[in-house]
């Protein structure tokens, strides 16, 4: 075994109920200690479901999970009761998209952080409050002593997200999950939070899985990117590889759709159609119906996974032919 912090093997998640949705299909992913990985994908690609599965937040009655997840050597899928509680918070914690909804409006932010610390570590209230103060300082909140006594509604969106990060990091987890934490923020605030997360990752040395739909955001925070489509990882590699040498047609389409280098007024090379509804488990390339390079064999069977180097892979028959979309 290697030193993988997160080891997801052949994970499949299916929601049953009124409609069946194959949200995640045979997903394999590893994250090493101290690494930041961006899970990049559009709505319905399964990126948030992956995070929720990692934290075991999905409703067990309507969810069928197959495969294996290990975090720091612990089998996550069999955890229950106390162990699960300890795992959430001490090993892994999460930052959400809407900090205003994730924080309790009737307690001060100081109390909420202190309470989280006391739940996991046997320390006194006074010590917990001083930890909370230290955390607010680390997330660069100005005049933290005063902010400790603020209620969530008294803080701006950017401040709330800082508090949320402080809360998530208070117990020093080894793994931080971030679910679109900057999507609801203004541009000038978003970049502050992204750079803060980057700094804190170095400071605390934790692993980070950062879910986003925005390539630019992924570039700013991550050293690795995994591109998700229809519940599968279609391409994975270092951020540089994904941006400078994208091999999967979907990745290339996403990069073009970012418009950062689109000629003004020129016709966009848009990906046609919309993602599949995933009512059945994909048995061919899910992207083939929208792909400009699709051939009959793409529609006949799942694409082979090309592995150009140890930690890079592309699930496409065209992976070896670099950049030929015209």
């Amino acid at each position: 075994m290697t030193t993988n912090l997160v080891d997801i093997r052949n994970l499949s998640v299916r929601f049953t109920g009124a409609r069946t949705v194959h949200a995640i299909n045979d997903l394999t992913l590893t994250l090493q200690q101290g690494e930041t990985l961006a899970l990049l994908g559009e709505s319905g690609s399964g990126k948030s479901v992956t995070l929720k599965t990692l934290l075991r937040l999905l409703p067990p009655k309507r969810t069928q999970i197959d495969g294996a997840i290990e975090v720091n050597g612990t089998d996550v899928l069999t955890l229950s009761g106390r162990k699960l509680q300890a795992y959430r918070g001490e090993e892994v914690s999460m930052v959400f998209q809407e900090p205003g909804l994730a924080l309790d409006p009737v307690y001060t932010v100081g109390d909420q952080i202190a309470e989280a610390v006391m739940r996991h570590k046997r320390i006194s209230k006074v010590e917990a409050i001083s930890t909370a103060l230290d955390m607010l300082r680390r997330v660069r909140i100005p005049s933290p002593e005063r902010r400790l006594k603020n209620y969530p509604h008294e803080l701006s969106g950017g401040m709330l997200q800082r508090v949320m990060i402080a809360l998530a990091l208070a117990c020093r987890p080894r793994l931080l999950l971030a679910d679109e934490p900057t999507t609801a923020l203004d541009a000038t605030v978003q970049i502050q939070i992204l750079l803060l997360l980057r700094d804190l990752q170095k400071e605390f040395g934790m692993g980070v899985i950062f879910v986003t739909h925005d390539i630019g955001v992924a570039v700013e925070v991550s050293e690795r990117i995994a591109v998700m489509y229809a519940g599968q990882i279609v391409e994975e590699g270092t951020t540089r590889e994904i941006i400078k040498d994208p091999r999967h047609p979907y990745t290339r389409g996403l990069l073009a759709a970012n418009l950062h280098d689109a000629a003004r007024g020129a016709r966009l090379n848009a990906i046609p159609g919309a993602p599949p509804a995933l009512e059945t488990r994909p048995d061919a390339c899910s992207f083939a119906p929208r792909c400009p390079l699709a051939e009959d064999r793409c529609r006949a069977a799942l694409p082979p996974v090309h592995v150009p180097n140890a930690r890079r892979r592309v699930a496409c028959i065209h992976a070896n032919a670099p950049l030929a979309v015209g």
Binding site: A18, A270, P272, G273, A274, P289
Partner: protein
């Protein structure tokens, strides 16, 4: 012509009307169907009571008083004046259901209109309507019904009036809340931006979207209304004897509770079953009307 991007996205089941969707969901809900049948049965038997071959609900007999349930000729026994209980319960359904439903229907139209106007117009119109309504909320509904009925005097019409007044405020409030929510949505703005008058916007875009929550809430009020109406009769300020009405019957049988407790409980049981079914029905209708699911 420029090329259109292909849109070969699979779409959900073929476009059906909203109400057929609601119907389809209702049919798949056995509990709601049962409750619906019970209510329908009660209403039908009340309407067709004279043709069901029942005894005369008014004709008493001094010797056959308080016969127990199962007496030959009187399947559900007789009351304290020897009148047939089955006939009285079924005939009683007529008045009880009428007094139980009519005030809610009236209040649904009056309160619904007031609430939609208040919610759509906002500003001082809203303040005027809603603050007036708030005054009524200062009194418990039972007390209010008793006070108004007491002031107007006993009788069916006065009961109807007082109960209608009691139910206007809650319906206004719900209608106002729902309408304000819809009013804030962009499609209302889009309709206004197309130059439509307030009345047209309300007719085409507001009513269809607020009616079902108000309707569902009104259904849940019918059980309360029935109990209140029965309560008024029980207190002697609603229906007057010898009319058969469940609340009134409960009152007059009260003294017989030690002689024949099961018999005395029958009108109460009817009230209980009806209001329970109405409540469950309103829950079922609510979930069937929920479009996004």
């Amino acid at each position: 012509m420029t090329a259109i991007d292909p849109l070969d996205m699979p779409v959900t089941e073929a476009g059906k009307g909203y109400w057929s969707g609601v119907g389809a969901r209702l049919i798949r809900d056995p509990l709601t169907l049962i409750c619906m049948s019970v209510i329908a049965l009660l209403i039908l038997s009340a309407i067709f009571a004279p043709w069901l071959g029942l005894g005369d609900p008014y004709k008493g007999s001094m010797i056959a008083r308080l016969k127990p349930i199962g007496t030959p000729g009187h399947i559900l026994g007789t009351d304290e004046q020897g009148r047939d209980m089955l006939a009285r319960l079924i005939y009683g359904g007529r008045l009880t259901l009428f007094i139980g439903l009519t005030p809610v229907v009236l209040a649904f139209f009056i309160g619904g209109t007031l609430g939609i106007v208040a919610g759509y117009a906002g500003g001082w119109v809203n303040t005027l309507i809603m603050r007036t309504v708030d005054v009524f909320f200062a009194f418990p509904s039972v007390l209010l019904a008793i006070a108004i009925s007491g002031a107007l005097g006993a009788g069916i019409v006065n009961s109807l009036v007082s109960l209608t007044i009691v139910f206007i405020p809650p319906l206004t409030r719900v209608a106002e809340a729902v309408t304000s929510g819809v009013r804030a949505l962009d499609y209302i703005d889009a309709a206004r931006a197309s130059g439509a008058s307030a009345l047209t916007v309300i007719r085409v875009h507001v009513i269809g979207n607020v009616l079902s929550p108000i309707f569902v809430y009104a259904t849940s009020l019918t059980s309360v209304c029935m109990i209140l109406a029965a309560g008024l009769s029980f207190l002697g300020i609603g229906v007057r004897p010898p009319e058969p009405e469940w609340g009134l019957m409960l009152n007059t049988l009260r003294s017989a509770i030690y002689v024949n407790p099961w018999l005395s409980a029958l009108p109460g049981l009817m009230i209980f079953i009806t209001s329970l079914c109405l409540n469950l029905l309103s829950d079922g209708v609510r979930s069937a009307m929920n479009v996004r699911d």
